[in-house]
Amino acid sequence: MNMRVPSAAPATPNGTTRPQVSIVIVGHVDHGKSTLVGRLLHETGSLPDGKLEMLQAVSARRGMPFEWSFLLDALQTERDQGITIDTTQIRFRTNAREVVLIDAPGHAEFLRNMITGASQADGAVLIIDALEGVRDQTRRHGYLLHLLGVKQVAVVVNKMDRVDFGQDRFNEIKTEISAHLEGLGVKPVAVIPISARDGDGVAQHTSRIRWYDGPTVVEALDGLEPAKPLSSLPLRLPVQAIYKFDDRRIVAGRVEAGELQTGDEIVIMPAGKIAKIKTVEGWPQTPVTAPQGAGRSVGITLDRELFIERGDVIAHVGREPQAARRLHARIFWLHDQPLAKGDNILVRLGTREARGSVVAIEKAVDPGSLSNEENAAIARNHVGEIEIALTQPVAVDPYTENARTGRLVIEVQGRIAGGGLVLSIAAGKRAAPVDIMPVESALQPQERADRYRHKGAVVWMTGLPGAGKSTLARALERRLFSRGGNPVLLDGDTLRAGLNKDLGFTPEDRAENIRRLAEVATHLARNGQIAIVAAVSPARDDRAAARRIAGDLFREVHVATPAEICESRDPKGHYAKARAGALQNFTGIGTDYEPPLDAELVIDTATRGIADATDELEALLSKTGVLFDDIADLGANI
């Protein structure tokens, strides 16, 4: 907002610096949040020149009495509806604190915005209308503060002018809300009677609330403490990415807890591989010698080449998080579609993305009425406890041990739909750290490239059964071999006969099948071969995982032959069997094939001959730097 902007390190008259705290004001709709915000800005002298007069003039022009809440309702749409629709952030200062005030909407419709705002807060002000008392949304917001981990809560009982500043009414509300919050493990720092409209109890005690001897709202804000980084907990560095911009291989991420420095012995979870931190990299100065504590975004290099990927968590040996596939969580749900047992979900834990399913719903509660519901599903804006089974092990802590690595969000169709706390790690087994030391090849990549006239690559052909993947893969293999190259065909079905014979066709097994294919292909490619993978690989997520494993080596080719033609070809007789109901989980006649959105190449074998298509594949490999231009290379050899 166009509010006064404080400097980064504001000085108080005695030369010290005020700590900055973020607070959120929550509560039932129309209980006076925006009015309190307007009043706080005025009382702390934080309004820009002319803003109050301008809004008073706008009110007069519209023939409405001036309201403090107009300050926040800067969006026209909000004024039309008379409610605040989203979070805003406003800054002001008290004697002891630099306050970032997050205004969060009270309307149930906008709970996602309340959560967005409140999740960033160090403390909260829960506002209650003295006339209406504790309402659904008051309880709901109290419950969510607990789930979001906001522990410092001040309660204000507003509109005391509407109840003639009656102490009895105040005490009645105070008793009810204190009991509710304490039941959730939240002890209010103060319960304050105020009239935001008239100013009583906001910055000063007035004669009308003489019976109250606790802090004013501003004094309560002065007592809030900023969130502390988790420096004293065991090291947790969730990996965001691996960068290879130059000859360094930098593992990047933010230290969520603990601290690290050069020479530390670390373990990469969930795999349990061990390494040492070789350097801590920085810019413009590098390397960085000082230890890096919680909250820092860092980059490190390791003393050995290990497979490490986004989502792994780096910890110190002996103090690592658990590797788990089953989690017990307390969550809030924001999606229109209730969360039900059996639902497939995407879980995000730190930087890890893992697919899984809800195997049990143990509790479903409307936090407004606090009524338990049938445990079939968790409805929108409700909370509950669930058991999640993941398709892959993830590194995780219970939230009681680490509040930052012990929380998760759930995504549905690419949109965040809920979140919550990891209560316990069911059936979790601590992976024993293993000291893996891969043996490096005796050959340099360049030696192989000089011989084969190409670099390593993974050509990943995806498409419906019968689309022509294997035919094309074989043609490409022949073509590359003829020019002196070193191609190798990895056919999905061939690998299923051996390496992958323990796997079936459930989504989990398919994911594991693809992971193994990708690992094998990547190993070959790193050793200079062109691995040509022909696999239906119907799930976009699985192919994305393959791309993550292979990195820059990956070339996705969509063999996009129309479904009718694939079925009419039916080279393995699978379509016929599936139509007859004799083949379960067959991709092709259902709708479960997810075509790539951004394949490097799309080929329709219905309209294009094999030779033509092979030319295109070869051109792709030339264009993307895999195949070398022979003429230029011949020149270099003269």
Partner: protein
Amino acid sequence: MPRALSAAPTMDHLDQLEAQSIYILREAFARLKKLALLWSLGKDSNVMIWLARKAFFGRVPFPAMHVDTGKKFPEMYAFRDTYAQEWGLDLRVEPCPPIDAVDPTLPPAARSAARKTEGLKMALAKHGFDGLIAGIRRDEEATRAKERVFSPRGAEGNWDVRDQPPEFWDHFNASPPPGAHLRIHPILHWTEADIWAYTARENIPIIPLYLSKNGKRYRSLGDQDITFPVASNASNIAEILAELESTKVPERAGRALDHETEDAFERLRVAGYL
């Protein structure tokens, strides 16, 4: 190794802002396929480029795009050409359409500024970016205060303020529906004073127009014909910080388009303006 006592240096306010911005930039780079950073040449986007260089160890691994109205100050063009080279940026300059192509019902300054929105849409169509990194801040202006860090835009670049997805615990919605793109706001949580304090600390170059000359300076830079200086004697960053400590004049006071009608800026933003 576990250490009994913390040996790590404590983080001050600017360290915390920096670490958070780096986290956001790395998330964007990890989760989107085709990113560009919008470089307006102003103090905020210069800080953002600096942060990107920190995040990626000296190089900015995506293009820096300047959507050029052709009406910037000469000092701004000179700055762009010097530092694009010095910082090793992959600079893309994209033009804006003539004023006739822009919604004639907008007030004059807003209409002029809306050319940039059109230019941006053309650039998006041309390059197919799925993420645009933009240096807006919550404290600049009321509608920007309502932004998410990862903010989805419709196929037309429009912003649906009523249907913003939830965003918490540094988990971002990074899957725009087909045809849409994301705006990523790595310095949303910074203030004007933070920008200046960090610029001074890191010694980031600035355009001299921000410093006082003849009792006036620019607090915010835009097109020459719709941006005006404010009265100020601040001739270095320390003096700017002292001035911000006491001023009650909003940062965008010199940007004509903010003051034409009550909702001009909001209309621009809903249509896809930064």
